[in-house]
């Protein structure tokens, strides 16, 4: 049986300045998600995580083009669909949660209106059934007294509540996949945990697949079953969450884990030297090589291909090959 959502060697570039500048925002991303599974997409700002989210639902800005690769939802090819067909997918089969709750809601329309929209367009709910459905959704995301609050406007709600409403909107169409792009980054720390628990509960109840984009490894540890680490538009390592934390295979992942401050010690903070690369001017060979502690000659020359390791981990690095051969 094919996985629920599968992305295969996706490449999408932004073409600027009349074609002279090419930004390789997504440069070889492959992963798959099953129903009920949570896939975490981790990386620094600008590594291509948000672009990947937009690419999956074919909502990249007009200056970008998907150059190659495949995206399949339950085996159906998404790249071949027209925009009209994609509108049937968006909200109905793949829903999205954005980062900024304040900016996500239309300030002029009531909560009821905005939550009802996907149910209205995708599931043909009308009238009393629609009201009932909205009430259910709001209760599911734990909004108190939903009947009264339905008529409210976004500015009358707190940030945490707004983000929960965004969650309700995501569920309203009855999707199979929910893409959450840094949903807790703009929330107070105290609210973040509540929200994450809510998402987990909702997932268990509905069986959706969750793609969770974040730059916070702590959240990854709590929420995800499988993780992909992105750097410079590529997934450089993909493993189960336990495997990633206990046995990171890519130097970048190792560096990220090392840079998490540890309580109880007074060791100086480890900082990855250098800067993330300019995606329009990537270095030759491996993109991480200028900052890598274990860089070898081969890394500077040849871009590493995907290495599938025995414990269901994949990584884009020449090291495992090197280790295997030197171990004799």
């Amino acid at each position: 049986m094919p996985p629920l959502l599968r992305v295969d060697d996706l490449r999408a570039y932004y073409f600027g300045f009349r074609g002279t500048r090419v930004v390789k925002a997504i440069d070889g991303v492959s992963f798959s998600v099953e129903a009920g599974e949570t896939f975490g997409l981790v990386g620094e700002s600008g590594c291509g995580k948000t672009s990947t989210c937009h690419a999956i639902v074919r909502l990249l800005p007009p200056s970008a083009r998907i150059v190659s690769g495949r995206i399949e939802l339950e085996g159906e090819d998404l790249l071949g669909k027209s925009q009209t067909e994609m509108r049937q997918i968006r909200g109905r089969r793949i829903a999205t949660i954005l980062q900024d709750p304040m900016a996500s809601l239309d300030p002029l329309f009531s909560i009821y209106d905005q939550v009802a929209e996907p149910a209205y367009y995708h599931r043909a709910f009308r009238g009393r059934r629609l009201r009932q459905r909205v009430k259910e959704l709001l209760s599911a995301v734990r909004i108190p007294s939903p009947e009264r609050r339905m008529k409210d406007l976004p500015h009358q709600m707190s940030g945490g509540m707004r983000q929960r409403i965004v969650g309700a909107i995501a569920l309203a169409g009855g999707p199979q996949v929910i893409i959450a792009d840094e949903p807790t980054t703009n929330l107070d720390v105290t609210i973040q945990l509540q929200y994450l628990n809510l998402l987990k509960d909702l997932q268990r109840a509905s069986g959706v697949a969750l793609i969770f984009v974040t730059h916070n490894l702590g959240i990854v540890a709590k929420m995800c079953d499988k993780v992909g680490v992105m750097y410079a538009g590529k997934i450089v390592e993909m493993q189960s969450v336990r495997g990633l934390f206990y046995n990171p295979r890519h130097p970048y992942t190792r560096a990220l884990l090392d840079s998490i401050p540890k309580l109880g010690t007074k060791d100086p903070l480890y900082v990855i030297p250098g800067q993330p690369p300019d995606l329009s001017r990537l270095p030759a060979g491996c993109s991480f090589q200028p900052r890598c502690q274990s860089a070898m000659e081969r890394c500077r020359v040849e871009e590493p291909s995907e290495q599938h390791l025995d414990d269901a981990a994949t990584t884009r690095c020449w090291l495992p090959l090197h280790e295997a051969t030197t171990r004799g």
Binding site: H155, I169, G173
Partner: protein
């Protein structure tokens, strides 16, 4: 909402007071009102008499308090030439200017807003560039030039539209029977001046609508609406339109006041008996109190208009309407 209205009202009063003070000060600082009257080589005693009549030989603070006092009583000066209070003449002419202004406003909205939205929806295409160019052209041609061109084409060469005057309908304050028909009669006379006046604004409206629409189309909540899979025409018609209308309306309201400027010249060209022409008459007849009076009245009207617009804006924006 109530607090908002009260605050706005207070602010309007302060602005009004500052406005009249500025007029008072600027007039006395930049020149001599009497000299305007006496420029045709009148003799000194005549000038002295005028000075005395107008109270200009008194100390400044006395003049100022008298000035403010008069204004509070509703006395905006007496026309030298016509020996009538400026306020009365102003109100008699005001409906004509309002009719012209309103027609021009409607024209500018009808031309500017739809094309502005079209430009934004088809941004950076041929439509957009054409729209931007036309808007720029509209903003660059002085109103009186457009008026003259229209006269040449439609009035003289083709003879389709009457050139002068406003036609026979009149708005008489004391006779309510004249109130309603006034707005709907004499279209041919209204056509050219209203178009000449509205043309300048349509350019501005086009740009503002376009830019407001682009802002809205790029916002996060529109992105989310698209991500919800809502059909594209609803994205535009339901969400984008309503949200972009607020800045457009605000701008439209604020710019009505600029229309007053161009209206002066248009009224002169087309011999339209409105307030602008009153100003011009005052100038030609060297009737200073008339000129000052009209300026004061216009200032008052504008401040009141701004206040009304602020209140309307507060009503439309639910964030303000629902607050205490």
């Amino acid at each position: 909402m109530r607090k908002y209205v009260l605050l706005r009202g207070f602010y309007s009063l302060v602005t009004l007071w500052l406005l009249v003070t500025i007029i008072f000060a600027m007039v006395r600082l930049t020149g001599d009102p009497v000299a305007m009257k006496g420029e045709i080589g009148a003799d000194a005693t005549y000038l002295e008499r005028i000075k005395h009549d107008w109270g200009l030989d008194q100390p400044v603070y006395w003049q100022y308090t008298g000035f403010i006092g008069n204004l509070l009583k509703g006395d905006f000066g007496h026309s030298f030439e016509k020996s009538l209070p400026v306020r009365d003449i102003y109100f008699e002419r005001l409906p004509n200017s309002l009719k012209l202004g309103f027609a021009a406003f409607v024209i500018s909205l009808a031309l500017g807003v739809p094309f502005g939205m079209l430009s934004a929806l088809k941004v950076n295409t041929w439509w957009d560039n054409a729209g931007k160019m036309i808007a720029l052209l509209g903003l660059s041609m002085p109103g009186f030039f457009v008026g003259l061109v229209l006269i040449i084409i439609f009035g003289v060469q083709l003879g389709w539209l009457p050139v002068l005057g406003k036609g026979s309908s009149a708005f008489v304050w004391s006779n309510p029977a004249t109130w309603a028909p006034f707005w709907f009669r004499d279209w041919p006379h209204l056509a050219m001046p209203a178009f000449a006046l509205g043309w300048y604004f349509s350019g501005a409206m086009l740009r503002i609508t376009r830019s407001g629409m682009l802002d809205v189309l790029g916002s996060d909540y529109i992105k989310l609406v698209r991500l919800k899979g809502v059909p594209e025409r609803m994205v535009v018609a339901k969400h984008a339109l309503k949200n972009s209308l607020i800045p457009v309306l605000t701008f439209a309201g604020l710019n009505l006041l600029i229309m007053v400027n161009v209206a002066v010249v248009i009224e002169v060209i087309f011999n339209w008996p409105g307030v602008g022409q009153l100003l011009y008459d005052g100038l030609s007849n060297r009737d200073f109190p008339m000129v000052q009076g009209v300026v004061l009245m216009s200032g008052l009207m504008i401040v009141m208009l701004n206040f009304v617009i602020d209140v309307l804006y507060g009503y439309v924006d639910p964030r303000i309407r629902l607050s205490r």
